[in-house]
């Protein structure tokens, strides 16, 4: 009997501790937000700067925090306004080329009005006689043809040549960003289609023979979309770089299904239009 009450007490206490820990975490987060808001406000900034003459320890700390916050805010502002931002990295490798100086490029990507984890490209200068750049590290997915773009816009210098090939970092960044955006838009299209058809959550029952039951990306670059209907028809949709549907075919149990293909895709058109038609045909 006593042990039972003890156990109950332990449970209650455990719950209470978990609650309190949650509260602590929430309060700490709140404190951080408040602190950064206060220190970012203009009156408090001027206050801190005025009192910077006094060399007390807390003042120094405040000033340091202020500087950090200012730098961070500037960086955030640049990141919000500009899809590509540059920064400096130090390569920790003691044998790194060019004393570890690395130029970092940050490519912002967005999805459903949210900032995603940006992609990074790091460049260094490994060549002894020229200041040409070379890609050092990157976090791009394999679908983006970084190697090809680098070979086009950042060719390595050749010492035997009289006039070395010129590198165009600006053009490289532009085309690379374009490729990244295209890739993300293509990914977004198939995700949108899946959401429009209600395939992102498992629903059972209400599937007629003409409804689409599966939407998948069929290749590395996300240029092909694989469709499966409830009556075991299969479809494949191919789009080009700019999101124009170039090919579309549906195979049924007894050969090609020309009728549905025609009704969904009769002339070259944008992928969005085809997706809208697919949605209508699937829900009707």
């Amino acid at each position: 009997m006593a042990s039972e009450t003890n156990e109950a007490e332990v449970d209650v206490l455990g719950d209470e501790i978990a609650d309190l820990e949650e509260q602590i975490a929430a309060t700490k987060k709140q404190l951080k937000i408040q602190a950064s808001t206060i220190i970012a406000s203009i009156p408090s900034q001027s206050l801190v700067k005025e009192s910077s003459r006094s060399r007390s320890k807390t003042n120094k700390k405040l000033l340091k925090g202020l500087q950090g916050q200012e730098a961070h805010q500037q960086q955030c502002l640049y990141r919000i306004c500009n899809p590509v931002t540059a920064f400096k990295v130090h390569d920790p490798d003691p044998n790194a080329v060019d004393r570890g100086h690395v130029l970092g490029l940050r490519f912002e990507v967005m999805s459903r009005s949210q900032f995603l984890k940006p992609y990074y490209v790091m460049l260094n200068r490994p060549y002894s006689k020229s200041s040409a750049l070379r890609i050092h590290r990157h976090t791009l997915p394999s679908a983006i043809p970084l190697a090809g773009l680098a070979a086009r816009h950042l060719p390595p210098p050749k010492p035997e040549d009289e006039n070395p090939p010129s590198q165009d970092l600006d053009q490289f960044v532009r085309t690379l960003r374009r490729e990244i955006m295209r890739y993300h838009n293509r990914l977004g299209i198939s995700a949108d289609l899946r959401r429009a058809l209600g395939l992102h959550q498992i629903t059972e029952g209400d599937t007629g023979p003409t409804s689409i039951v599966e939407v998948g990306i069929a290749d590395i670059e996300a240029k092909q979309i694989k469709l499966t209907w409830a009556d075991e028809r299969n479809g494949r949709l191919v789009m080009d770089d700019d999101g124009k549907v170039t090919k579309f075919s549906i195979f049924g149990v007894d050969g090609r299904d020309w009728e549905t293909t025609k009704s969904l895709f009769d002339r070259p058109q944008r992928i969005e239009e085809v997706v809208e038609k697919l949605r209508q045909s699937s829900t009707s």
């Binding site: 950064s36 490798d93 997915p141 290749d219």
Partner: protein, 526 residues
């Protein structure tokens, strides 16, 4: 019977049966199913609808009692085949129940295997079933195979004016190869020589996002079931022993290819299996290519047993060219939206480790504590969040050939210089163990192939001014880089002076080190 089979170009049919009295299938099963009772649903086929007629799954029909016997006589018939150790079941449902019972009773593996071979599949197991048994094994032991990674690269379009047969890699191409399993398989079958008879099977592993192709090669020109019988007419040669299994894996969303070394069930020369592997590897780029779109495969100096690590280093994610400390940029969890105004806490700062913060008001740290803290911070700065022992991405072997001259101190410099010529000559003439030597050379050869820029070649000529012995370092263990990280954290390796290749940031498992960097790999190797 023997006269009716002819050599043909077709491949081994899925439903061809291997006689169960040979030891080939037994070897497969006893390896393929550590939990042999679980293999039953796999043997019967995953898509089969139980209870329907057996013709629905011709690839895996078990031996059942004939249906012709009258229903009323069933009970009396029970002792009819009493001499049969494994009386055949009446329906597939019965059989399923039987294996389920055996599973619950925890019967021994040998019992189950012998029941499968001598009872329910006494008329032989099909190649399909052998493939399923192999995949069952691979699902449970994903590290049982050693994988080599290859990169799929586009080739330049051949020009009509030149007659050159040698095609170059098109470095400026923006195309990614497109992989379509059935087309690929069709083309591959055309490429493989007609005297090799193989059985192909596609499979998806449960845990990893990749498509596996199992190629089971039988050394026989015939594609009938007789080719699989363990005894041929002369009664001596066993074809099954000469069979080989090779896996090809195509990761989703990445232009790479993983292969395993071919594995035989019997004993055959290593040279033969190597040539078979080369044959397959040669066929792969041709099978991937299409008119006006040619591809080649290039080895990437990554060899590991761990598929998760392989997918991390040559897969669809962000980590392909950002290993080691650079992985903080590839980490998906750490988002850092610019709309978030809170100053991010740098990794390793005091606020992050809240549990130790209580100590800061206490007694000042002792020297050893401070050293440990510094070592841990150094490890964090070099490895980032990578190379933790529990991330499951451990490679088990990392080999480098060091080509840097030995550091010359003032004391030994004169001696070294005097010795130098002698030693370098010795190095050539000395009779080293042959296989060791060849391994070192293969790594070097690979490194030379990797070098693509002229600047690097110039460096090579100037650096041999000091004593440079042929030195190869091999790290091995369950998770090599996590081990190095732990050594750094323990203060045994100086985290600041440690060369970059020891952090695993180059994403290779073998290479040649020159000037402290992996050669040809100045960066991501693009």
């Amino acid at each position: 019977m023997a006269a009716s089979i002819v050599a043909s170009k077709c491949n081994q049919g899925t439903s061809n049966r291997c006689p169960s009295n040979g030891d080939g299938p037994a070897r497969f099963l006893s390896r393929g199913c550590p939990e042999a009772f679980q293999v039953f649903p796999k043997l019967i086929g995953t898509k089969a609808h139980y209870g329907e007629d057996e013709s629905a799954f011709p690839n895996s029909t078990p031996f059942l009692r004939a249906r012709t016997s009258e229903e009323e006589e069933e009970e009396e018939d029970d002792d009819e085949d009493s001499e049969d150790i494994y009386p055949p079941a009446r329906t597939i449902e019965d059989l399923r129940q039987l294996y389920e019972d055996m599973r619950q009773q925890k019967g021994s593996k040998r019992d189950v295997v012998s029941r499968i071979l001598e009872g329910d599949w006494r008329h032989g197991l099909t190649l399909y079933q052998l493939a399923m048994a192999d995949f069952a094994y691979l699902d449970e032991h994903p590290t049982s195979q050693k994988w080599n990674a290859y990169q799929i690269l586009p080739l330049q379009k051949p020009s009509h004016t030149e007659d050159e047969q040698l095609l170059k890699v098109d470095k400026e191409s923006l195309q990614a190869p497109r992989f379509h399993p059935s087309t690929f398989l069709q083309n591959l079958q055309d490429q493989v020589l007609p005297d090799v008879k193989a059985h192909y099977h596609f499979h998806r592993l449960q845990e990893f996002p990749l498509l596996l192709l199992r190629i089971f090669v039988i050394d026989s020109p015939y594609n009938s079931a007789l080719a699989l019988s363990s005894l041929d007419q002369s009664g001596t040669v066993t074809n099954f022993d000469a069979s080989r299994t090779i896996y090809l894996a195509f990761p989703d969303g990445s232009p790479s290819l993983y292969t395993t070394k071919s594995q035989g069930t019997g004993s055959a020369g290593t040279g033969e299996s190597k040539s078979l592997q080369n044959l397959i590897i040669d066929g792969v780029p041709k099978a991937l290519s299409r008119p006006m779109e040619r591809y080649t495969v290039k080895s990437t100096s990554i060899t590991t047993r761990n598929l998760a690590a392989l997918l991390d280093m040559k897969g669809p994610g962000r980590g392909n060219a950002a290993g080691g400390g650079w992985s903080i940029y590839a980490d998906e969890k750490n988002k850092q939206s610019p709309l978030d105004a809170i100053l991010p806490t740098p990794p390793g700062s005091r606020e992050q480790s809240a549990s130790t913060s209580s100590r800061k008001r206490g007694a000042p740290l002792t020297q050893s504590q401070r050293d440990r803290k510094r070592a841990r911070a150094a490890a964090q700065s070099r490895f980032g969040d990578s190379a933790s022992i529990s991330d499951g991405k451990g490679i088990e072997r990392f080999e480098v050939v060091l080509q840097d001259p030995f550091p010359a101190t003032s004391r030994n410099r004169t001696a070294l210089e005097a010795n130098q010529e002698e030693v370098s000559e010795d190095g050539e003439a000395q009779s080293r163990p042959n296989h060791r030597r060849s391994k070192v050379e293969s790594v070097l050869q690979q490194a030379v192939q990797d070098i693509d820029d002229v600047d690097d070649v110039n460096e090579v000529d100037t650096s041999f001014s000091h004593w440079t012995p042929m030195l190869k370092v091999t790290f091995s263990g369950p998770h090599v880089f996590a081990g190095i990280r732990q050594l750094v954290e323990a203060g045994i390796i100086d985290g600041k002076r440690m060369p970059g290749w020891m952090t695993g940031e180059e994403t290779v498992t073998k290479g040649a080190v020159q000037r402290g960097r992996i050669r040809g790999q100045k960066g991501s190797g693009l």
